[in-house]
């Protein structure tokens, strides 16, 4: 069944992870089963894929921290505050899935930093926070767009594209909340 055919994020996440592991191609399944030679013959690139996933994980952990800064700024009012909490929850789900995937591929997930540098002194209003969040989400869309073609395992490309879609929706909603055209062009780059 397609990753995209699930109605809810939870169902999609379950589909991504599967009952006891990832829903992956034959080469990845071989890798997970410890049959590294077979995976290598199939053109797998464990180091590269875990490297890509770890960079994505680092960015997702930063996004979680950024939304926390926004939520604790005292600048966000409902319903924007509720929306920010929802988006932060999505990033937490992304980070959770990425970390588990890295582990199942034999890698070591990066940990959240103890401290992130954010331009907090420039956040003076709800619009400032929204604009900051929108810039991060737009950047995340571009980052995933640049990562999708690099995966050796096409199932991971598909999963990353699913996250890309979610973050593009965040970006559009944030732009809309700012009174900007939510979808400014037909393509993202």
């Amino acid at each position: 069944m397609s990753f995209f055919s699930y109605a809810s994020p939870i169902a999609a996440r379950r589909a991504f992870l599967g009952k006891s592991g990832l829903v992956l191609s034959g080469s990845a399944i071989a890798l997970l089963a410890g049959r590294d030679v077979l995976a290598a013959k199939a053109g797998g690139s464990k180091a590269s894929d875990t490297n890509i996933l770890n960079t994505a994980l680092a960015a997702e952990l930063e996004a979680v921290a950024a939304y926390q800064v926004g939520a604790e700024s005292g600048l966000l009012e409902k319903p924007v505050l509720t929306l920010a909490a929802q988006f932060q929850g999505h990033h937490k789900e992304h980070a959770d899935v990425l970390a588990k995937t890295i582990q199942q591929l034999g890698g070591k997930p990066v940990a959240a930093k103890t401290k992130y540098d954010f331009p907090t002194s420039k956040l003076k209003s709800q619009a400032d926070v929204l604009r900051f969040a929108a810039s991060l989400e737009k950047g995340a869309v571009s980052a995933y767009l640049g990562a999708v073609p690099l995966f050796a395992n096409r199932d991971l490309s598909k999963a990353a594209a699913s996250i890309l879609g979610d973050e593009a929706m965040h970006w559009a909603v944030l732009r809309n909340a700012l009174g900007e055209n939510p979808v400014p062009s037909a393509f993202v780059s």
């Binding site: 180091a47 590269s48 890509i52 960079t55 331009p119 995340a140 980052a143 767009l145 640049g146 690099l150």
Partner: protein, 117 residues
């Protein structure tokens, strides 16, 4: 990949205003002033790769021996994983030469304007 005089001309024609829009692609991981998922970009032109204090680079980047010039940035931005295999900048690159030239022009301008450089 551009070569020689063509590359020099393309880089010289870089438009920092257009580069600001290209830079929005980088902001998932980078900023000018802060180390984030990627290192900060203030002062990147002229800097030795892997040398920003407080940022944990990949061994590949630390050993790359690259000094970031317009030319080396142009090459890296075209295909980071190919240029420095093992880099944590797992991004397919900026495919258009004009976009790369604009981006480099923006980084130079912003270093001068905002980074004390």
């Amino acid at each position: 990949m551009l070569e020689g005089a063509v590359l020099v001309a393309a880089l010289a024609a870089g438009d920092p205003a257009a580069g600001e829009a290209v830079y929005s692609r980088c902001q998932g991981c980078h900023s000018l002033e802060y180390n984030r998922t990627g290192p900060k970009h203030c002062g990147v032109v002229g800097r030795r790769a892997g040398s920003v204090p407080g940022y944990e680079y990949s061994p590949a980047m630390k050993k790359s021996g690259i000094v970031w010039s317009e030319k080396s940035l142009e090459r890296f931005l075209a295909d980071p994983p190919k240029t420095v295999p093992g880099t944590t900048m797992t991004y397919a690159g900026v495919p258009e030469a004009k976009d790369r030239a604009d981006l480099i022009a923006y980084l130079k301008q912003q270093t001068a304007a905002r980074c004390g450089g």
